[in-house]
């Protein structure tokens, strides 16, 4: 600015050259800067009005005056400056303090420069000054403030700072530095300072606040977080404001207050306050807190609700000014007295009446209690009002319920008796008692418990007494009462001991006439017994199972079947505990099906196997057992042991099988007979036909020979048939015990010649002890047949060997006869092997009758025969002798 002015002045100088003095003077006077032109003698030649104004020379003739005269004294420094100027050396800027006529302090910034004429000769000095009083004082003030803040901050932990725009300098006081965890030599600048604010909300808030401060001159106060140089996060209240000079923004000042620790305690206090206010406000009492002068500090919601007021209507007002006092003028003084007393530590309590929001008088139990601080000084008063209206209501309710009780007492079908516990004197009873015993209220006073109670056993009495003493109650206990007419009836009695005001022990007893229920109980018992007897004597197994198929009831038949004596041995057990696992699984599956579907399983044939392997066939029904609500809760099982029936059925079945088998055999036999006889008769018929028409004698002879052959064949056939019929028709066979081994030896002896001729070997490996029940002649015939067969159909390449052995298999003794003969193709001939007149080898001796007869003989003895054979290897016949029947 000054530099610009210098340029301006220089321009003036140029302009001044050749300009009339008057005009020059006029121009200088109007200069906006305080300027004075002095000549070499330091006399003022020209001066601006501003200079005159600034130095307060309005009343002084300045032109022509020496500055020595004008300024009274001139510092040596200035003189030196002026002299230098005359030598062409302009001065530096300086500051000068000046007191005006009114002793007001003024500050000037000044500069002196040489005054040249048009020939560049120095003709004097130009004095230029600028009044910087405002600026200086401002700076001083800021300095002062800073000092002040510094002092203050030491006490209150408040840190301060200032920012000078002109100089772009930021200053932090020591506390601020401490707050930022920086050393005291730290020099902040505007950028580093802002970076201490926590990134995000805090930094943005501050940036915006500063921006607004500069734009709208608004101060700020924000709660922010700072991250100190040590990385510590602290919470501060940051206050600040902008400084303007003549609308020009020149800087900012501000303070920090560290509130980090207080925030925590604040939280705690807040919580306590919350707790307190919850209790305070949710209490059913009217509660208010007064100061010792009787001014409301707080009032709870209950009281506000009751009175229909807002907190602001009451708080800060006097207690006695509240509207709820019915006759304010009368109570006011009294209330003041009370508060005074309470403030001195007295507690006051009394029943009073207040008005609710509808002006209804409400009785209240009012109390005023002093509240002490830690120094035992009364600091406030706690005013409480307890509505007694509710108590009134309760009393009313009690009366109603008492009436109700009275009605119940009188109408109850149960007898109530009030008696003296010690003496037994009856003091009161209800209508039910009168009705059941025949006594009435007139008897009260003369009647004792002993009179109505059938003397119970001493031990029972003792027990009841003991029970009362320890529990103050007894029962329910079955006793007998005596009516007025002397008859007795059973009652269920319970009682409890009550004390009356005089300390007399009274006994309240209830007695329920159970004659009827007793009767029912007996009936029920009888029915139960009947039912039990019934199911126990049923020729059926009856059981009840629960949902898990556990037996919960079994009758005697079932118990006997399972082999137990007492029901308790079985209850809770499942079929898995009692029977074979496989049948238990089947049974469980049936149970589940019945209980799930709710449909009964009726008359199903089931087989049960006990753990010991005994098999029993039952005809079983399982019926779902339903509870009160119709839900299935188990099942009832009824089973009938049909093992005998089953056995008989099987026997019958066997018998039918045997019969039909016999029948088949008979038909077969009939066919054989007819076939065999017919074939012979047909031959006769044919041959006779030929004979009749035959003329050739030789041919005739041949035919006759054939006829004779046919006749022989017929005879043989008849004999065979006779033999078969004899076997098949013999019903009562004369079976004897035969030693098998011995019998084999006998047959071997009989065949000795035949065996020798065939060079055959018979090996008898049958155990000497084995005996069979058989018809001796049949056994001989059978042995003979098989041994000779084995040799007849021998393999021509091998020496025939017949091997006999025996073993016992169940009901049979099995005789095996093994040969090493030709063998039979069983695939081809198996079905015909034992047929009549069936032969399988090209053996001229084969008649096709041996095996047929053998089979018939074996079957006649209830035995059977099987065959195994391999062509080229041999055959094994197995004869089963039935040892059972």
């Amino acid at each position: 600015m000054l530099n610009n002015q210098n340029t301006l002045v220089r321009n003036y100088n140029r302009m001044l050259r050749g300009t009339p003095t008057v005009t020059f003077d006029y121009l200088i006077r109007q200069l906006p800067t305080a300027t004075a032109f002095i000549n070499k003698k330091f006399e003022v030649e020209f001066v601006s009005d501003k200079w005159i104004k600034d130095f307060d020379f309005e009343k002084t003739q300045v032109i022509g005056q020496s500055i020595y005269a004008l300024f009274e004294e001139i510092s040596e420094e200035w003189e030196l400056v002026l002299k230098k100027c005359l030598k062409g050396e302009k001065s530096d800027k300086g500051i000068h303090r000046h007191f005006d006529n009114d002793k007001n302090e003024h500050w000037f910034e000044w500069q002196n420069i040489p005054w040249y004429d048009e020939k560049e000769n120095i003709i004097g000095v130009i004095l230029q000054t600028e009044d910087i009083t405002n600026r200086v004082t401002l700076e001083l003030r800021a300095e002062k403030l800073a000092t002040l803040l510094d002092t203050q901050s030491e006490v209150t932990d408040v840190g301060s700072w200032e920012y000078d725009v002109e100089r772009n300098s930021l200053h932090w006081c020591d506390t601020t530095k401490k707050l930022h965890d920086v050393v005291s030599s730290y020099e902040p600048n505007i950028d580093t300072a802002i970076n201490f604010y926590k990134e995000g909300y805090s930094r943005n808030t501050i940036a915006m606040a500063v921006d607004r401060a500069i734009q709208f001159k608004e101060p700020w106060e924000e709660k922010c977080q700072l991250i100190t140089a040590k990385g510590r996060e602290i919470t501060v209240i940051a206050k600040g404001k902008p400084i303007f000079k003549e609308d020009k923004f020149i800087g900012l000042v501000g303070v920090f207050r560290d509130i980090t620790p207080s925030i925590m305690s604040e939280e705690k206090t807040k919580q306590q306050e919350r707790h307190f206010s919850t209790i305070f406000n949710s209490s059913y009492q009217f509660t208010g807190i007064l100061d010792t002068q009787g001014t409301f500090l707080e009032i709870n919601k209950t009281a506000l609700k009751f009175s229909g007021l807002k907190s602001s209507d009451v708080v800060n007002k006097k207690f006695w000014d509240a509207y709820w006092w019915p006759i304010p003028d009368m109570v006011k003084d009294g209330l003041k007295e009370i508060i005074k007393a309470a403030a001195q530590g007295e507690t006051m309590r009394s029943e009073i009446v207040v008005l609710d929001k509808d002006k209804n008088p409400i009785p209240v139990d009012f109390s005023l209690i002093p509240v002490y601080d830690e120094n035992n000084q009364v600091v406030s008063l706690l005013a409480e009002g307890r509505m007694i209206k509710e108590m009134f209501e309760a009393r009313k309710k009690l009366k109603i319920s008492e009436q109700k009780f009275r009605a119940l007492y009188e109408l109850s079908p149960t007898s109530y008796i009030l008696s003296d516990f010690e003496t037994g004197e009856i003091l009161d009873f209800n209508t039910a008692f009168e009705e059941t015993t025949g006594y009435n209220k007139d008897h009260i006073g003369s009647l004792k418990v002993q009179d109505i109670l059938v003397t119970v056993s001493k031990t029972q009495l003792l027990r009841i007494k003991k029970e009362i003493e320890s529990n103050n109650a007894f029962g329910p206990e079955e006793q007998q009462y005596i009516r007025k007419d002397g008859t007795k009836f059973p009652v269920l009695v319970s009682g409890s001991l009550v004390g009356n005001k005089k300390g007399r022990k009274l006994l309240w007893s209830t007695a329920q006439d159970i004659s009827e229920s007793k009767l029912k109980e007996i009936q029920l018992k009888e029915e139960q017994t009947l039912l039990r007897t019934l199911i126990d004597n049923l020729p059926l197994n009856v059981f009840i199972k629960d949902l898990d198929s556990r037996k919960i009831l079994v009758n005697k038949a079932e118990l006997d079947y399972m082999g137990f004596k007492d029901q308790s041995e079985v209850l809770g057990k499942t079929d898995f505990d009692l029977y074979d696992k496989d049948v238990a699984e089947i049974s469980r599956a049936e149970d589940v099906k019945v209980m799930k579907s709710g449909k009964p399983m009726l008359g199903v044939e089931t087989i049960n196997i006990k753990k010991d392997g005994t098999i029993t066939t039952f005809l079983t029904s399982k019926i779902p057992l339903r509870g009160d609500k119709g839900n299935v809760k188990g099942l009832i099982g009824i089973s009938l042991d049909i093992s005998d029936l089953k056995r008989k059925e099987e026997e019958l079945h066997d018998l039918i099988n045997v019969t039909s088998h016999q029948n088949k055999k008979l038909i077969n036999f009939a066919h054989i007979v007819s076939h065999n006889l017919r074939s012979h008769t047909a031959n006769f018929s044919m041959l006779l036909d030929f004979l009749v028409s035959e003329t050739d004698a030789e041919e005739k002879n041949r035919i006759i020979k054939m006829l004779m052959e046919a006749s022989d064949n017929l005879l043989e056939t008849l004999e065979n048939l006779n033999e078969v019929v004899a076997i098949s028709t013999k019903i009562n066979l004369d079976k004897k015990s035969i030693n098998l081994s011995e019998k084999i030896n006998t047959v071997e002896q009989n065949l000795i010649a035949f065996l020798k001729n065939s060079n055959a070997l018979v090996i008898n490996d049958v155990d000497e002890d084995i005996e069979v029940k058989a018809v001796p002649s049949y056994v001989e015939s059978i042995l003979m047949n098989f041994i000779t067969n084995g040799i007849k159909y021998k393999d021509p390449m091998r020496k025939p060997v017949i091997h006999l052995s025996a073993e016992t298999k169940g009901d049979y003794t099995v005789l095996s006869i093994k040969d090493n003969g030709l063998g039979i193709d069983l695939e081809e001939h198996g079905d015909k092997l034992f047929g009549m007149y069936k032969t399988f080898h090209e053996n001229p001796d084969a008649r096709g009758i041996g095996l047929y007869i053998t089979k018939n003989q074996i079957e006649a003895m209830n035995g059977k025969i099987t065959v195994e054979s391999k062509v080229g290897k041999g055959t094994i016949f197995k004869i089963y002798f039935n040892e059972k029947n």
Binding site: H671, H675, S679, A682, N683, M686, L687, M706, E709, G848
Partner: protein, 134 residues
């Protein structure tokens, strides 16, 4: 009537074989009469004839009850042989077992050959009827 080239009799009863043969000869019905005592002998030879392209018998008299291989077993095997011409097979039996008639019906339905069922005895009057080429 055309004379039949070859007739065969399968029967284990020599009297029956003698009778049938005698009746056939009296009418001079065939050039050649072969006899077999059971089914096995017959089937073995007929199979051989087929192999050697010798014409097989045009009429067969077949007994049922025979040792080793009976009439039904023979038929079972015979029907599997590849014989294009229609052969007449006369079952000649003294059986009145309904089973045997069922068997006859069964085989009859299975083949292109002609199968007849006759009960013994065969009379002269019958022989002409049943000894035509099928």
């Amino acid at each position: 009537m055309k004379k039949i080239k070859s007739i065969c009799i399968i029967d284990d009863d020599p009297i029956t074989v003698f009778g049938i043969k005698k009746m056939l000869n009296s009418f001079d019905l065939a050039d050649e009469i072969k006899t077999y005592v059971n089914g096995k002998e017959a089937i073995d030879e007929i199979s051989q004839m087929l192999e050697q392209n010798i014409p097989v018998p045009e009429v067969i008299f077949l007994d049922i009850n025979m040792p080793i291989m009976d009439g039904w077993q023979f038929l079972e095997k015979f029907l599997t042989l590849n014989i294009e011409s229609k052969i007449r097979i006369n079952i000649v039996t003294s059986s009145i077992d309904p089973f045997d008639r069922q068997q006859w019906e069964h085989f009859k339905s299975k083949t292109h050959h002609l199968i007849e069922f006759k009960n013994k005895p065969i009379r002269k009057n019958d022989i002409l009827e049943i000894t035509k080429a099928a």
